[in-house]
Each structure stands twice: as C-alpha cells, then as structure tokens.
C-alpha cells in the first residue's frame, strides 16, 4: 500500500489554516445582519480578518486546534492498520510544524503527550469500507470551548415543556443554545441527532456537521426544523461572542437515528464559527482537496 502521510499532512494544514468557502460565505452574510459600529459587527469583522490572515500565513485559525476527528472511507485493498499509522505520522508532523497545538492530555496524570497522540481515540478515527476505487478522508478539528457546551436531553422534559415530537426537539435545542450563551464561540453551527443511544446520538450529531453549510436537508420536515432553529435562536439576541446581536447561529443540521421504545434522546453538538473541516480524495493518481 502506498504512503499517503504527506497528503494527510496537507489535509491537516488546510483544515487548521484555511476556513472552508461555505463557512466564510455564511460569515460574510452574517456581518451584514449586524448594526454598523456594534460590538457584534466588530467581532465578525475581526473574525473575517483573522480568516484571511490565517490563510495567507498558513497559521492556525484558532489556537485550539481541537480534537482531530477523521472519517476514512476506503475501497477494498487499503489497510486500515496502515492508514491509521499514516494518519498518526501526519498528525505528529503537523504538531511539529505548529499547524496543530499539542492537545492530547492524560486525564489522570495531566501530562500532555506533546504530539497529539495518546491512548485510544486520540485522534478519533472512523473507518468504513466503500465500493468503487476512491479513498476519501474527511477531517474535522473541533475545539474544546464549543465541545463543552454540547448537550444531551432525554425526552420528555417537563421543565422545557418538551414531549417526544419535533416540537419537543425544538424546545430542548433552543434551551441548549440559550445555555451555551457565547461560551462556544458564537455564532455557532448545531449538529442535532434525534434518537439513538447516548453514544450513537452524539456521534451522529457530529457526523451531520460534515454537511455543506449551504445545502438543504433532503427531509422537508427536518429542513423546516433546521431553518426554524436558526431563526428562533437568532431571536435570543446572544449574538457573536455573546456580545448581543442578531447572529447567534450560522446554521443547524438535524439528523435522526432509530431509538429504543424507552428512550428519546436529543443530542446537540455545538460547533464554533471556526468550523474547520476539509475533505481529501484519492482516485488512482488523482489527489483532490475540497
């Protein structure tokens, strides 16, 4: 099997330093929603300046380069064991080159491994075999500030008047946005999973964040819910950085999983505006980054 560690290193560099076009375009539209001279508008303008500078200098958009979450879709013939080794090599190199901050800390001793490796699940790797001959690697860097404000609700929730239906989902998600205030680096993007168990719900809530921010949900009911969540969250007036303002969310992505009769979880992953995720595909000798 060929060695693609250098390509993966480039994927990490691109993800950390070059905000995807769909996110930047959404931020540019958000600036126009804020009052000239307001702290909210100033925050968004600073954010956009930083995005341009990071791209130009190839420096991290945010110093919290987060948990690297890789999804690898591989055709038959690739070894997941070797791919894992190559991803680890790339991550160590990316840390040396200061594209990534050393972020992997032993929870018992408090010791930072210094190279972004350590124990199981750091970095986080998902492997899935696919048909065809294209290898796809998707990477998301998810910072700790936004991860900390994620939330999971078990419905019904009496305090929030939330039953086991989409109206109940809406109520608990709005509560999650309220609870987060500006702590998760608003304006944020929500990944919401309805159903599953506590583990699969959070996984699915993150998987929805790999969608393009400008697409529409193929399920019309969920598409309507996504739009409503953004519109109503923006009425909360939390605004960029929690300074107050019209842009609390840039987007919401909703998915669903089957559940047990006894359980009805709503899992909310909050993504900061520094919504760093990139994709790399290899088909034969053709290498492409998106």
């Amino acid at each position: 099997m060929r060695d693609i560690s250098d390509n993966i290193l480039e994927l990490v560099r691109l993800t950390s330093t070059d905000l995807p076009p769909d996110v930047e375009a959404t931020l540019r539209r958000a600036v126009e929603q804020e009052e000239p001279g307001s702290a909210a508008r100033g925050a968004l303008e600073t954010i956009l300046k930083n995005v341009e500078l990071s791209r130009r200098n190839s420096s991290p958009i945010c110093q919290d380069t987060g948990t690297p979450i890789f999804y690898v879709f591989y055709p038959a013939g690739w070894s997941t064991r070797k791919l894992r080794q190559q991803i680890e090599t790339a991550v160590v190199q990316a840390t040396k080159k200061a594209y990534l901050r050393p972020n992997s800390v032993d929870s018992i001793t408090g010791k930072n491994s210094g190279n972004n490796l350590g124990g199981r699940h750091f970095p986080i790797l998902h492997f899935e075999e696919v048909e065809g001959d294209t290898l796809t690697i998707e990477l998301m860097l998810k910072g700790g500030g936004c991860e900390n404000v994620g939330a999971q609700y078990s419905l019904p929730n009496d305090a929030l008047n939330a039953g086991r239906d989409l109206a109940g989902v809406r109520n608990v998600v709005l509560d999650a946005v309220y609870q987060a205030q500006g702590q998760g680096c608003a304006p944020g993007i929500l990944g919401v999973a309805i159903g599953g168990d506590r583990g699969s719900g959070y996984f699915a809530s993150k998987e929805t964040l790999y969608r393009n921010l400008e697409d529409t949900n193929p399920d019309p009911q969920l598409d309507a819910l996504e739009k409503k969540l953004v519109e109503e969250s923006n009425q909360l007036g939390i605004g960029p950085m929690g300074f107050g303002g019209n842009t609390t969310l840039l987007g919401a992505r909703v998915t669903h999983l089957n559940r047990l009769p006894a359980s009805f979880f709503v899992s909310v992953s909050y993504m900061c505006w520094a919504y760093r995720r990139r994709k790399m595909t290899i088909t034969g000798s053709t290498l492409k980054f998106e």
Binding site: N50, Q63, D64, R101, P102, N161, Q183, E232, Q235
Partner: protein, 207 residues
Amino acid sequence: MRSLDIPLSDETIRSLMVGDPVLLNGIMITGRDAAHKWMVDTFIKQTRQPQGDDLEVYAAIKPLLAGSAIYHCGPVVSGLDTGQYKFVAAGPTTSIREEPYQGMVMQHFNIKGVIGKGGLGPKTLVACHVVPGVYLHAIGGAASLIAQTVVRVLGVYKLDFGVPEAMWVTEVKDFMAVVTMDSHGGSLHASVETHSKAVLQGLLAKA
C-alpha cells in the same frame, strides 16, 4: 479606541465601562485551567504543599502579575525545540471554567485585568469591584490576528503543565479587547443572559 499601558492603575480601571474597546500594551502572563487550580491549591487555600519549582515560580510571577493582566490562552507556539519561542496562534479560551478560582486569584495577586472570552460569573464580578479590576473580552478564534500583537515571548513557567497550560510571559502591543465586566458591577454577560432567558421563555410558551 483607548490605549492602556500595563501596569494598570486603579484610576484607569475605574474609568473603564462595559462596552469600551481598548488596546493593551505591556507585559502580561497567560494562565488557564491548570495554572488557576495550582495557584489556588498551593498558595491561596494551601491544601497542597509546594513542590518542585513552585516557590521559585511563585516568587517570579508575583511581581509580574501585580497590577497586570492574566490572559486565558493556550497558544500555539513555534520554536519549542530551540527555545526561540514565538506565538503562532493565540486567541482566548473560554473563561467561565476559572469562575471558582478567578476572584481569589485576582485578590491574592492584585491582578487588574482578566482577559478571555465568554465572560465570568458573579464571584469574579465582586472581585472586579474590590480589587478593582476589569474583564476584557478578546475575540474567540481570532488566533492568528491576536498572535501578531504578542510581539515578544519573554519566558515561560510551568511548561510541565504542557504548552497550552503553561504560564507564558509576553509583551503585547495594541492587543485588542472589549470591556465586558467593569469595576462598577456592570456585566454584559449578565445582561445578555437575562435578555435571552426572557426571549427563550416567550418562545417556549408559544410552542
């Protein structure tokens, strides 16, 4: 925009109000989760015996923190191999995790400015009144831009906490921030929370 020189005088602090944008100049130190817990456990509550270089570090940071600012930041640093440190990315981290410690740390070290993002709670707001001090909000995620205003890294303490958690002594020039908690009891975070809570309750009632 007002330019402020560190050390900050009480008079300067008292003149600052929520909403004021400022540019900071001078020497300040980064400190976040591990540093705050270490300062409180070892020197304030003294529930833990000083170990290793604790006392030396305490003696070194005490004069640096007096009248100065502490920055909630875990930077990306280049030059780790050579010791020629440079901040590559240095935005603020979420401050609320320091709420159990911040007020005590401000009072113990006479810290006048706390810099971070997302704001702090009522205990810190009391300390801002008493010390007096202010909370200065930097733009979360604007890490490359902010790193350019960190003109020099003068040294580092507690590197054994790891690069993000170490206490980096820096010289800053035109470091941008907005006052969101002042020494007169004003907190933008408290008012945004109150407003958004009322709106949320209205939306939930509408369902």
